[in-house]
Symmetry: C2
Subunit: 401 residues, 2 copies
C-alpha cells in the first residue's frame, strides 16, 4: 500500500458540507489501505478576514505577528477536518507546523523550509491514523511561528511528501487537472494526462494558477510525483513528473497572466553596472522581476523595462524612486494594463518554427506584441490586457486544432 500526501485548498473546505465531501475523498484512500497525510489550507475567506482585521489596526502590521495571526486559519481547518473524519468513524489527528517540526528560516511571511521532522507524523501513521497537517506554517529556531508565503500549502504538501518519502503528492483544486489552456476561456481546451516538472513550472509562473511553481520546483528536486486533480469530481487528474511518457503535441499549453504590471525606467546611462544597480535594489526589497527589455536610446541614454507582479508595482516604483540618485534616470513610467500570454512545451526547442507560428497566429487576429521573452520550453509575449483572451484563443486554435 502507498503513502499518499493530499492537499486541499480553502475553497474546498469552506463549510461543513465541503469538509464532508473532502473527508469522503480522504476516507476512500485510507480505506484502500494507504497511509494518508492531508495538508489543509485555511477555510475560504478566513485568511482575507484575518488580514482585514490586522489592517484595521495597523497599516503595516509586524510580519512576525501577522504570521501568528494567519497561522490560526490552517490550525482551525485541520481541527475541523479531524472532527469531520471522527464523525465518520475514521481515526485522525490534527498537527500544527510546530508539532510536525516544520522548521523554517526567520523570514516571516515568506519563510523558506529548512527541514521537516518525521517522528511525530510517522508515529501517528504507524497507529493507522490519518494525519492532518496545518499548511502554510512553520516554526523558526527561536520557536516563533512563521508562514511560508502564498501558495504555501502546496509547498507544505511537497515538503511533507519529500520528508516521508511519499509515493504521490496530490494537489486538489477546483479544476480537473492541467489544461492546454484555461477551459473557462477556450472551450476546446484539453486536459493533459501528464506534464513534466519543467513544463509545469513554466505554466505555473505564467499564470496557470493550478499549482505554485515553488512546490513543483521542490517536487522536481526530490523526484516526488505530483497529481493535480479535482476536489469535486472523482476522476484522474494530471500527473506531474520527471519524464512525460505520453506522446503529445510539441506544446503542452497556452497560459495568460493579467496580474502583472510593467515598469519602464527612462533615461538611464548607457554604461556598465546600471542594470546591476537597478535589479540589486529591487532584489534587496525582495521583489521578483520577470521579463526584462533594455532598449538603446538616443544621447547615450537607455530605457530599461520589466514586468512585476501587479501587487508589487507600487512598492517597486517606490524603491526605485528612493534610489534615484544611485541609479540615475530621468523618469519612471508604469502600466498595469498588460498581460503575459505564453506557450509552453518541452518539445518546443526541437521543433523549428514554433515562434514564427505563434507570432503569425497573433498577427492574424491583429494583436500587437509589446515584448517577447523565451526560455528552453516557453515563449512569452506581452500584449495589451484587453487583447489577452483573444490571444489565448487564437494560439490554442493554431496549435491544438
Amino acid at each position: 500500500m502507498a503513502l499518499i500526501v493530499k492537499k486541499f485548498g480553502g475553497s474546498s473546505l469552506a463549510n461543513a458540507e465541503c469538509l464532508k465531501r473532502v473527508a469522503l475523498t480522504i476516507a476512500k484512500a485510507y480505506s484502500e489501505g494507504n497511509s494518508v497525510v492531508v495538508v489543509l489550507s485555511a477555510q475560504a475567506d478566513t485568511t482575507d478576514d484575518l488580514i482585514q482585521k490586522a489592517k484595521e489596526i495597523n497599516d503595516t502590521p509586524s510580519k512576525r505577528e501577522m504570521d501568528v495571526l494567519l497561522s490560526t486559519g490552517e490550525q482551525a481547518s485541520a481541527a475541523l477536518m479531524a472532527m469531520t473524519l471522527d464523525n465518520m468513524g475514521l481515526p485522525a489527528v490534527s498537527l500544527t507546523g510546530w508539532q510536525i517540526g516544520m522548521n523554517t528560516d526567520s523570514d516571516y511571511g515568506s519563510a523558506r523550509i529548512k527541514s521537516v521532522a518525521t517522528e511525530r507524523m510517522k508515529a501517528e501513521l504507524d497507529r493507522r491514523r490519518i494525519v492532518l497537517v496545518a499548511g502554510f506554517q512553520g516554526v523558526n529556531k527561536f520557536d516563533d511561528i512563521t508562514t511560508i508565503g502564498r501558495g504555501g500549502s502546496d509547498t507544505t504538501a511537497v515538503a511533507v511528501a519529500v520528508t516521508l518519502n511519499a509515493d504521490l503528492c496530490q494537489i486538489y483544486t477546483d479544476v480537473e487537472g492541467v489544461y492546454t489552456a484555461d477551459p473557462r476561456l477556450v472551450k476546446d481546451a484539453r486536459k493533459l494526462d501528464e506534464i513534466t516538472y519543467d513544463e509545469m513550472i513554466e505554466l505555473a509562473s505564467l499564470g496557470a494558477q493550478v499549482l505554485h511553481s515553488r512546490s513543483v520546483e521542490m517536487a522536481k528536486r526530490y523526484g516526488i510525483e505530483m497529481e493535480v486533480l479535482s476536489s469535486i469530481v472523482d476522476r484522474p487528474g494530471t500527473k506531474v513528473k520527471g519524464v512525460n511518457k505520453v506522446e503529445h503535441t510539441k506544446i503542452s499549453g497556452v497560459a495568460k497572466d493579467t496580474s502583472i504590471g510593467i515598469i519602464s525606467i527612462v533615461g538611464v546611462k548607457d554604461e556598465p553596472g546600471v542594470a546591476f544597480k537597478v535589479f540589486r535594489v529591487i532584489a534587496n526589497a525582495k521583489k521578483n522581476i520577470d521579463i526584462i527589455l533594455q532598449s538603446v536610446n538616443h544621447n547615450n541614454l537607455n530605457d530599461i523595462s520589466f514586468t512585476v507582479a501587479a501587487d508589487d508595482l507600487d512598492s517597486v516604483v517606490e524603491v526605485l524612486e528612493k534610489n534615484k540618485s544611485v541609479i540615475g534616470f530621468t523618469e519612471i513610467k508604469t502600466s498595469g494594463n498588460v498581460a503575459k500570454v505564453s506557450i509552453v512545451g518541452a518539445g518546443m526547442m526541437s521543433a523549428p518554427g514554433i515562434a514564427a507560428t505563434m507570432f503569425e497566429a497573433l498577427y492574424d487576429v491583429k494583436i500587437n506584441i509589446n515584448m517577447i521573452a523565451t526560455s528552453e520550453i516557453k515563449i512569452t509575449v506581452l500584449v495589451n490586457e484587453n487583447d489577452a483572451d483573444r490571444a489565448v484563443t487564437a494560439l490554442h486554435q493554431k496549435f491544438f486544432d
Copy 2:
C-alpha cells in the same frame, strides 16, 4: 518598578477600537517603568463561533481537536494586541501557550496547569518588551494543545504571575470591582476596596461572575495579590488579598446564582455507603455537586437532594440512571427553576445572629427557603428562581442600609 500581570477578557477586545483602549491601559503601566505581562482571552464571540462551527460538523467533537480549534482564538487576540501596541510605538511580542511552556495534564477541555516555564517570558521582559500571552491554553507532555476550561484566562494570568513572582495580578472586567451585590440589581450596592481570598472564592462560586474561584484559589495558595478593575474606567478596583486590612461590615456581599439545577434521588436505602456511591459515580463523571441535603423518609428510605450547575443537569441524571442498580433508588426528580442566594463575609462566624437576620429578611418579603447550606464565611439559601432578585434586594437592604 513592579512586575505586573494584566488579564483582559473577550468583550474588552471585541474590535480595533476596544483593542486600542486596552492598549492605552497597558501603555500607561509600561511607560511608568513596570514590566508588563498581559494575558488575553479570545475576542468576543470568537469562541462561541468556533464551538458553533464544530457542532455543525460533529455533535460530540473530539476534545483534543476542540482544544486545537479553540486555542486559535486567544492566539489571534495576542497577535492583534501586539499589532495595536506596535502601532503606538511600543515593543510587544505575542506568545502562545506552548511558547511560554504552559505545561498541563492531558485532560483536554479542562486541563490542570502543572508548570509554567520562565525563560522565554523573562528574556522578552529583559529586552523591555510587553509580553502578550494567549490565555486559556497550554500543552501536554505529548506536545498536544490543551485548554484549561472556562475562566481559563483568569487562571492563566495567576499562574503566570506565580511563575514570574509578579507584584500584582490585575483582572480587568466590565465592572469596576467587587460589589456588595450585583449593581445592576441593587442600586445601593457598594464597591469594596478590599476583599479576602476566602470571601472572594465564596462569592465567585456563588455566582458573582467577576472572578473564577479557581484563579483565586491559586492566588491564595501562592500569596499573589489580585485586583479586579474596570477595563473602561481608569479607577482603582477591588484588591483581593490574604488579610482584609480595611474595616468593613461583617458581611462583604450578597450574591445570587440562577444557573443551577436541583436533583432529588428519591427512595434510596437508609444504610451506610449510599451517599458514597451516589457522589462517587458523579465524581467519576467529573461533575461538581454543590449543596447536599439528605432527608430521612418513611419505610427506611431516604431522599438525597443536591444542586449542580445547570449545564450539568442532564448529564448527571444520565450518569445516575446508568448506575441505578448500583445505587438503588426509586426515581429521580429535577428542577432548573431554582436559584442560590448567599451572603458572604469573613466576620460572619464571630457575629451571632447573622443567619437569623438573613432568614428574617427573607420572611419579611415572603420568600420560601428550600434548602440551607453554611460554611465558615457564607450562608446560602436555595429559593425559587423568580424570587431570587427580590431576595438579593431584601438582604442587601437588611445588611447594608
